[in-house]
Symmetry: C2
Subunit: 342 residues, 2 copies
Amino acid sequence: MPFQKLSGEDRLIDWLRSQVRGGHLGDDAATLSLRESFAITVDSQIAGVHFPANLDEARFARRLLAVNLSDLAAMGAQPRFAFLALCAPEGFRQRAFFRALLKACAIHGVELAGGDLARLPLGGPLATLTLLGTRRPRTRWLKRSGAQAGHTIWLSGTVGESAVGRHLLAAGASLSGRSIRIPSRFAGSARLAKAARAAVARHLEPRPELALGEWLARRRAGGALDVSDGVARDLHRLCRESGVGAVLDADLLPSSPHYGDLCTLLKQDSLDLALSGGEDYVLLFTLPKGIRPPKQFAATCCGEVLREGSIWLRQSGRTRPLAALGWDHLADAHAAHPPTTD
Amino acid sequence: MPFQKLSGEDRLIDWLRSQVRGGHLGDDAATLSLRESFAITVDSQIAGVHFPANLDEARFARRLLAVNLSDLAAMGAQPRFAFLALCAPEGFRQRAFFRALLKACAIHGVELAGGDLARLPLGGPLATLTLLGTRRPRTRWLKRSGAQAGHTIWLSGTVGESAVGRHLLAAGASLSGRSIRIPSRFAGSARLAKAARAAVARHLEPRPELALGEWLARRRAGGALDVSDGVARDLHRLCRESGVGAVLDADLLPSSPHYGDLCTLLKQDSLDLALSGGEDYVLLFTLPKGIRPPKQFAATCCGEVLREGSIWLRQSGRTRPLAALGWDHLADAHAAHPPTTD
């Protein structure tokens, strides 16, 4: 007698095992032997909370990986293994999801080594990814606790653009296959429309700063974290862990093209959004004075670490306390991605 | 200026850091250095799918850990580190959940080393736990692929009881604090009521077979997995990975007290439920002939591994093919725990 017809789950796992080299899939747990120290991070992505509920499976998969890679970038780790827990509703296109996930994993040298599949009765999809990254030779871990008084504060990219993208989606921007459609009121010029599309793309598929994380880990200097909940809140976290204060220069915060114009059209305060919009997935880091990251990383110096434990915002020559505003994962965040009609 | 009032998420993480020794919480990722090989497993638990939607936070936490520990038991691993992704609706009592989780972790020597918190807009709660366990000295990993022709097949405990508990919950059994209430038609005698309560407790809080897993890993013999989706389906999996067949003796399947009586009252076929009810979280394993596990593990021999790749069920002297029936996580499983009214 041949084996019984396999169940849906077993068939999917068989297919995955045929797609993934490494041979870790299929047992109750994946077994690994590593000589290096390693870092483990876990992050969930929930439809309707972190991304629009109607996002296609491929973009969902890439976003899930990117957000988790960003945590490894903030540690200076080399991404190695992924473990996926996928909770998906009926009709979810599992293979489209996994094809995109495996492709993105391959780009970053990540092997899918285990996971769990479940059917979600309500809402969804949502997924939790566990990533393991190893410490490269001659690097140290980047830590939130590494900031020291006198260090300069840097951002590896623009802030607020992802939040603009989120607001554009709430205001009617939509996806049509690979292209992004922008409502005409945000597309007054070709350049504005381009900036709007870039903001939506940035929101949906952030780019983890892995190369910069590696450079920082080799420098063995400063504190770092990735900006997921807004510069303001994440700067507070960096300072708390380091036992220092900081002054952030609002006028030096890097912003994307037409950022101010799009904020005006969206009736959003551009500084508020830059400080607390969240999901920028750039690195916020500190360096001893006189050290600058190579130009290729396009990082911007925008503040200074203080000995005293207060956190300030300097704008047009005036200085005021900087509140730790930003995304709170336990606050009522479900309005972030209201159901869209497209 | 003092630090701003912390957000709900940061406050909870601060509290967790005060409760957990080890110091891995608080950075973008937990960093570890291990000399031993290790195993990583990931499993989700979803309200309304894996357990009743109205289950209290403490039982939810213990079940989450137990189910994941069962995977480590099936590898023969020593549990070490946990990473939690919790997606909970408004009103979820985070601290009650974490208190129970940390207590259960401490019992098993597990350190909560990282995680992620998110608010779930619809349904829930659900959680994904990633567990890391190390290989003990002088053991080898237990694998599904270790079964060999001529081995005896063993179960470390009774099967079907957890499914009886699930059916009892659907039929009106309910929780009142720590006690379990059984509808009177399943409590015709004190012994029957006791068996019914035990079935519900078994379903809600399975006991991972860690000590047996360790013993098997020291024996360096046979194949093993934990029975999460039913003996029938999981025996098929064991045999596929090992490239062997098997004959399972229905008359020897271990069952709990009054199992048959409860199946009759629930209008369930007792053999079907034993074979495919699932969530037994006992170990299904094979051993070379002549080797028996110590009596303390109360394991039962109930079959034999065959060279040829077919899987049979022997009952009352007759032998027929054993179908790979059981829990399919991608099938329509949302009726497993319909909303209860208590």
